[in-house]
Subunit: 134 residues, 3 copies
């Protein structure tokens, strides 16, 4: 089972919660046990599992990356001025693979699935959801 | 095939080797070839593949993260004072997916599977092991 | 379907594009839809998805890691003087899992698959490719 989620992003750097869209795909396909792979297409985007009680951790992720990986100091900036975007995306990575347990996604209470935009805003970002059943 | 490993942790930040528990699940289920997904439930925990010749690399991982991601300076600290724990967990990530080759886990000599505790100690941490056979 | 790619590396730190080798395995095995897991064996190596328009982002990855994780200051250096290599490998991680969509790997235009060498040069590095079909 494979499906593509599309989102738009309104910030240059921002985290977008896609947990409910992934849960919908799992439940409508009646998957009992297996794994779900979430894959962000785009070399300046990534997938991170993170807390979503409020926006604080999401803001802290952006603050941390802007401190560790400042913009404007990279060799790639001579091409299209987004060296920091590529570095952030490469470190976080474009995918996460999560178990499906008894028809539910195996996230803990405070784990949510976030699309990380590191070079927005973008009108369209594609995220590929692939489910492998046991 | 899906099974949950439970461990307790005795440090605030620490790496715990779970390689032998994962190997046991593979061998008792007589899996020949495929992949094994190891998933840590908890937004302040993670899974890292790392060397285990002695404790030095494990200590260095903690030292590095405490330097790059200091505690006490995050927006999320106003909620429950563990902003650094979430950031460390988000960067390392909650899962690793490893091949199974001829009935053995496809780790190299010096690769071991570690549960990373970033907000301990905890009496119980759950790690979901899912095996997909070829 | 499981196959091992072997490469040699000529730098101490360097990124090596293995995208075409992975694509060949997918096309010769006539996989239509599923996932491909790419796993680097070696506790000082990793797999990163990154842009490959020119060498600039690859150079920036090495520059960034040498700044964040300097060599020569780690407890593990007393063993074999490569503490930084292990830390870089642990943060990037040894594997990526990518969807296969309609017989093609689900990378976007600027995403390529790189083997990251953090303790070379090495005459032989093994990368395990495992494909799970839907």
């Amino acid at each position: 089972m494979q499906e593509i989620i599309q989102i738009s992003t309104d910030k240059h750097n921002g985290l977008y919660d896609i947990t409910s869209a992934v849960k919908s795909i799992i439940s409508k396909n009646k998957i009992k046990n297996g794994i779900v792979n979430i894959y962000a297409q785009g070399a300046t985007a990534a997938i991170m599992i993170q807390e979503n009680w409020d926006n604080s951790v999401q803001n802290d992720v952006i603050t941390l990356f802007n401190k560790l990986i400042p913009s404007g100091v990279w060799e790639h900036d001579a091409q299209d001025n987004n060296g920091d975007s590529h570095l952030k995306a490469g470190i976080v990575g474009p995918s996460e693979t999560i178990p499906i347990i008894n028809s539910k996604i195996g996230l803990s209470t405070w784990q949510n699935i976030f699309f990380c935009e590191f070079d927005g805003p973008r009108s369209k970002r594609d995220i590929v959801i692939t489910i492998i059943s046991l």
